[in-house]
Every structure is written in structure tokens, then in C-alpha cells.
């Protein structure tokens, strides 16, 4: 059986339980859409960016992949966080990585984060009717340092000091709005991101597993994983 991997930021795969249907008698993953529910996040700091994501892919109630890597390299110091259809976002990321690599060779310079984001935007906007892709582009370049660009479904592009996305992000708007401060250090950003993703994973059934983090600076990319037993814990009963 070929599953179409779909990360839906808002809707989860649903079975239509109509009277007379057998939807309730068979396990829901036999007829549910594959969905990587997702929580993704990126935060700028002076000197780079921190990006983070959960690691869950679901097919209805079945977790098809509990260690997914949703943080994808586009270039040496530019990553993207993917939410929406896994197939769509993988295809777009591959295409942009190719275009960016070519562009960088022609310029004989590392590419700008803004350029990578623009390439995502061009593709996501042109094919907006056919795509389900919510992407956060983040990285470091020598012109403007760390930058975060959000390219949500529909294909707009906006620069933000931090951005959250995916189905789990709804639950943490209040948390990030209250906790974000300008001028955080890299370590503070890592803690902020880990806490936010952990809170979302706690509340969103489609997000879970481990927290994958990466810090991108002039010096390179530093990847981290926070395993289940090391997740930040909160004391709500």
C-alpha cells in the first residue's frame, strides 16, 4: 500500500462515521490519511537562528514514524522546517536546494537566507492550488546574520523574529507571545524553543516523540535531540 504522507497543520485525517459504514469496525489507520501533525518553530538571535520540531508522523491513530526529521538542510547554513504534506514539502525542498546550489555556484558566494525564502515563496505561490505546504525558512548569512522567514500555506513570505507552525502551534501562541523577549542568547533561544515544542507536544495528539533542535551560526550547524525522558516537564496536574 502506498501511503501519501500528509502533514496537515490544521485538520487531522478523519474517518466519516456514517450509519451503515464499516469505518468504526476496522482500525482507523486502514482508511485514514497519513498526517505528520507537527509542531515547528524558529527563533532569531544575534549571530544565528535556532530551529526546532517534534518527530511524529501519524496515520490516523497509528504513529507511522516516531523519529521523523522535519528539519531539512537547503544549503550549508540554511534550513527549512516542514509542515503540511510531506511529499509536497520534500519535493519543494529538493527543488529549492537545487536552485539555490546552482545560484550559489554562479555567484561564487554563500546564498542569502532571503533568497532561499524567496525561492520557496515563488514555488509555493505559483502552485498554491495544488500544494499543502507550511514552511519556515531559517539560517545565517553574512549580510544580515540570523534570519527567520515564514512561508505559510498560500505562498506569502514574511520575515519575523520568530515563527511557529504546524497543528501543534495553535496551543503555544499564548506561551510564545508571553515568553519571547528581544535579544535572547543562543542558549535562551534553545530553551525557549524546547519548552514551546514540549508544551505543544503535550497538548497536540499529532505532535510528539523527540524534540529535534538545530542552532545555525557563522560557525556552522549544531544539531541536538531531546529524548522523551529528558523533555522539559511542566507541573499542570
Amino acid at each position: 500500500t502506498l501511503f501519501r504522507s500528509v502533514m496537515m497543520p490544521v485538520q487531522r485525517g478523519e474517518s466519516a462515521a456514517r450509519p451503515g459504514s464499516y469505518a468504526d469496525l476496522t482500525p482507523d489507520w486502514t482508511h485514514a490519511e497519513v498526517s505528520t501533525g507537527t509542531t515547528i518553530m524558529a527563533v532569531e538571535f544575534d549571530g544565528g537562528v535556532v530551529i526546532g520540531a517534534d518527530s511524529r508522523t501519524t496515520t490516523g491513530a497509528y504513529i507511522a514514524n516516531r523519529v521523523t526529521d522535519k528539519l531539512t538542510p537547503i544549503h550549508d547554513r540554511i534550513y527549512c522546517c516542514r509542515s503540511g504534506s510531506a511529499a509536497d514539502t520534500q519535493a519543494i525542498a529538493d527543488a529549492v536546494a537545487y536552485q539555490l546550489g546552482f545560484h550559489s555556484i554562479e555567484l561564487d558566494e554563500p546564498p542569502l537566507v532571503h533568497t532561499a525564502a524567496s525561492l520557496f515563496k515563488e514555488m509555493c505561490y505559483k502552485y498554491r492550488e495544488d500544494l499543502t505546504a507550511g514552511i519556515i525558512v531559517a539560517g545565517w548569512d553574512s549580510r544580515k546574520g540570523g534570519q527567520v522567514y515564514s512561508v505559510p500555506m498560500g505562498g506569502m513570505m514574511v520575515h519575523q523574529p520568530f515563527s511557529i507552525g504546524g497543528s501543534g502551534s495553535s496551543y503555544i501562541y499564548g506561551f510564545v507571545d508571553s515568553s519571547y523577549k528581544k535579544g535572547m542568547t543562543k542558549e535562551e533561544c534553545l530553551t525557549f524553543t524546547a519548552n514551546a515544542v514540549a508544551l505543544a507536544m503535550e497538548r497536540d495528539g499529532s505532535s510528539g516523540g523527540v524534540i529535534r533542535l538545530a542552532a545555525i551560526t557563522e560557525g556552522g550547524v549544531e544539531r541536538k535531540v531531546i529524548l522523551g525522558n529528558e523533555l522539559p516537564r511542566f507541573n499542570i496536574g
Binding site: 519575523q160 495553535s170 496551543y171 503555544i172 501562541y173 499564548g174 506561551f175 510564545v176 507571545d177 508571553s178 515568553s179 519571547y180 519548552n195 514551546a196 508544551l199 505543544a200 503535550e202 497538548r203 511542566f234 507541573n235 499542570i236 496536574g237
Partner: protein, 213 residues
């Protein structure tokens, strides 16, 4: 309420929250009532008394919510007279829950019940979908999705009354900042053995949070 020009039902989009503390409860709500894209009331108080020291917070369909409150107020008053004592909060919660459960297919309103009684002090009950669950913190309404993370991280057990008031105000402000169906002013109510203390916080007095600058 006249909603000509827009056939959408009048809904209290809403963010509501109730917190227990030592000696009572603090409840809070926003004040927006919408009919489609219009705000038909921007100063509505969604905290409704069910009895002297028991309040409920309304969300969902405004008409359904008010109908439930009316029925619950009546039933609780009768119950209180028959028993010859102020009703327990759990009794009020059960009255609301039974109405919500019996008519769950027709109703689209959700109420949470909170108050103070002599037996168990401050209590908060959720009656979502006709369940009855006790909580230390209960949040509801469309705006509540956005503050699950905040509430999970900021709530500490054994907060004082003042800390609860600040916590509730912060949570409502954050939700109102992200939910289009929540907004206006913040209505608060503190219920203890000494009675009921309402409070109103106007928009310009709300705490400031990150706002995309």
C-alpha cells in the same frame, strides 16, 4: 439582539478560564459576542451567576448558553430550597452537566461551573460534552486553544488570590491577542467564603505582550 444583514448565528466566540486557589476560585472571560464577522456586543459579561457563590462561564452559541443558565438557575434554586442550604458547587455542576448531556445533540454551548461551598472550598468543574470533571485550571472557548501552552507552563499550584488574578488576566489577554472571536475587555470574578468580587479590566489596562514588533 438584531442581526439583520447577517444570517449567522450569534456566538460567544470566547475565551473563558477558571482557577482554584486556597479559599476560592477566580473566573475570567473576554467580552466579545460575534454574529459572523460582526461584533454584536463588545462588552458582554460571560460570567453568569447560578447561585450566590456559584458562577458559570459561557461559550459557544449565546442563545443556547443563556437557555442553559436560565434552566440551571431555576433548578438550583428549587434544589437549594428543598435542601434548606446553599447548594454545593458539585450540585450546580451536575445540574448544568445533565442539561448539556441530555440535549447534547441540539445544543452547541459549553459552560464551566466554579464557586465556593463550605464542604470543599473553591472548586472548578468542566462540563464539556456532558462530562463532569474537576480541574485546578479549566479553560474553554475558541480562544482557549492558543493558551494551552501558556497555562501549562505558567500555572503553579497553591497560588494566592492576587497571583491567580494576574494569571487569569494574562491568559485571557494572550488568547484575545490571537483569537479573532475573542476580544474587548476582561471580566473577572473572585468567589470566596466572603462573597463575590467582580472586576473589570479595560483594554488599555491589559498587560502588554509580544505583538510582532
Amino acid at each position: 439582539m438584531d442581526i439583520t444583514g447577517d444570517a449567522s448565528e450569534v456566538r460567544t466566540g470566547t475565551t473563558i478560564i477558571a482557577v482554584e486557589f486556597e479559599g476560592g476560585v477566580v473566573m475570567g472571560s473576554d467580552s466579545r459576542v460575534s454574529a459572523g464577522e460582526s461584533v454584536v456586543n463588545r462588552v458582554f459579561n460571560k460570567l453568569s451567576p447560578l447561585h450566590e457563590r456559584i458562577y458559570c462561564a459561557l461559550s459557544g452559541s449565546a442563545a443556547d448558553a443563556q437557555a442553559i443558565v436560565d434552566m440551571a438557575q431555576y433548578q438550583l434554586e428549587m434544589h437549594s430550597m428543598e435542601v434548606g442550604a446553599p447548594p454545593q458547587v458539585i450540585a450546580a455542576a451536575n445540574v448544568v452537566r445533565n442539561i448539556s448531556y441530555k440535549h447534547k445533540e441540539e445544543l452547541s454551548a459549553h459552560l464551566m461551573v466554579a464557586g465556593w461551598d463550605r464542604r470543599k472550598g473553591g472548586q472548578v468543574y468542566g462540563t464539556l460534552d456532558g462530562m463532569l470533571t474537576r480541574h485546578q485550571v479549566c479553560i474553554g472557548g475558541s480562544g482557549s486553544s492558543y493558551i494551552y501552552g501558556y497555562v501549562d507552563s505558567a500555572y503553579k499550584s497553591r497560588m494566592s488570590k492576587e497571583e491567580c488574578l494576574q494569571f487569569v488576566t494574562n491568559a485571557l489577554t494572550l488568547a484575545m491577542g490571537r483569537d479573532g472571536s475573542s476580544g474587548g475587555v476582561v471580566h473577572l470574578v473572585t468567589i470566596t467564603k466572603d462573597g463575590v468580587e467582580p472586576k473589570l479590566i479595560l483594554s488599555n489596562d491589559l498587560p502588554q505582550f509580544y505583538d510582532n514588533e
